[in-house]
């Protein structure tokens, strides 16, 4: 737990500018588009993908090296690194919901719940792109967008929140597992 907290705190601190800009952007977009679920799901999924891609090896070389040389199991490191973009995107969704609520969107809490589920699934799928290059990297980003779109269809178009939640939990579980396995096999050279 200490290692997880340390990795999350260190990465959020290093990427504080990206996180801060995403909050400001969420505040502006939330104020401009307070109604409906398309805006928050689309925007916050994009934030999640950007935050996930910011965990790519080489963007914070010293943190990467510290994590790689530390006696941590692949799954521990995967959980910690996965939590970073999820926290950033989740807080972005919260800021969006806050801005929408302030503009009189009284369904913002429910929209926030739908958005959070979609954003977490999308972010975790996008994380696998960080360990790949070329077309497979693009494919994982597309998969992340597809996960978000399916969550939107289930939660908003079909109005089955339970199905959306189940889908997102299922996708998140396998995406995190896949990321952990990829991270354990990953060679830093």
């Amino acid at each position: 737990m200490r290692a997880l907290t340390a990795v999350v705190a260190a990465r959020l601190y290093v990427q504080r500018r990206i996180v801060l800009y995403s909050f400001v952007a969420a505040l502006i977009v939330g104020s401009l588009q307070p109604q409906g679920a398309v805006g928050p799901i689309l925007f916050c999924s994009l934030l999640g993908i950007i935050a996930a891609l910011a965990q790519s090896p080489g963007r914070s070389p010293h943190l990467d090296r510290c994590e790689q040389s530390a006696p941590l199991y692949g799954r521990e490191l995967a959980r910690a690194k996965a939590l970073v973009p999820c926290v950033a995107a989740g807080l972005g969704a919260l800021v969006y919901a806050g801005a929408a609520l302030a503009r009189g969107a009284f369904d913002a809490p429910l929209t926030f719940a739908i958005t959070l589920a979609a954003v977490v699934a999308c972010t975790l799928v996008a994380l696998s792109a960080t360990l790949r290059q070329g077309s497979s990297r693009g494919l994982y980003v597309l998969l992340a967008c597809a996960a978000s779109a399916i969550a939107y269809a289930l939660g908003v178009v079909l109005h089955v929140f339970a199905a959306e939640l189940a889908f997102c939990v299922f996708v998140s579980f396998f995406a995190l597992r896949q990321y952990g396995e990829a991270l354990a096999r990953y060679d830093p050279i």
């Binding site: 200490r2 290692a3 907290t5 340390a6 990795v7 705190a9 260190a10 070389p61 010293h62 090296r65 510290c66 994590e67 790689q68 040389s69 530390a70 006696p71 941590l72 199991y73 060679d187 830093p188 050279i189």
Partner: protein
Amino acid sequence: MALLRMRNAAFSLGTCSAGPVTLDVRPGERTALPVGSPQEAAVIALMAAGIAKASSGCVLIGDYDPRVQSVNCKRIAGFVPHEPVSVQERDFAGYIAYRAALWKVNTRNALAYAAVLRERLADMHEAFAYPLIGALIGMPKLVVLDRPELAYAPQILAVTETRAVFSTHTNAAAAHAFGRPHALAMTRA
């Protein structure tokens, strides 16, 4: 029993190749390995620290194979990268707390030990001193140095005390400063 055993250990991925290297580093020994290029030096150091896996041959760190027991290897070997870190003096305590959390050592003890090491490395630039201090707070039995600075050889060797040291270099003068002359003979197969 050797702390580090490399037997025809080689790494190859695309245009990047290193080795083969055959050597033993026993407890308390200091072995310096001069190699032809910075990239090769970095890769061999990463293999010796259990971070990169050898493509062929064998690397054992205290009887553990980095391919299957990398966590055990990383508890034995502390890695000090060549690149300086951009951690400022005011962030030193935070940096040590972060490293202590990753290595699961007591933060208070780590800070106390780090303060002692910082005092002993007062002449050394903090960008080079901090990664070394960070590696030593995990109490490794083997310290792996990737192309350490020749100018700081006496300070570095003084703080490593009786620990085994393995270092890679791109020039013979630095290798002589960090390892015993006989160690240079038992390098490449």
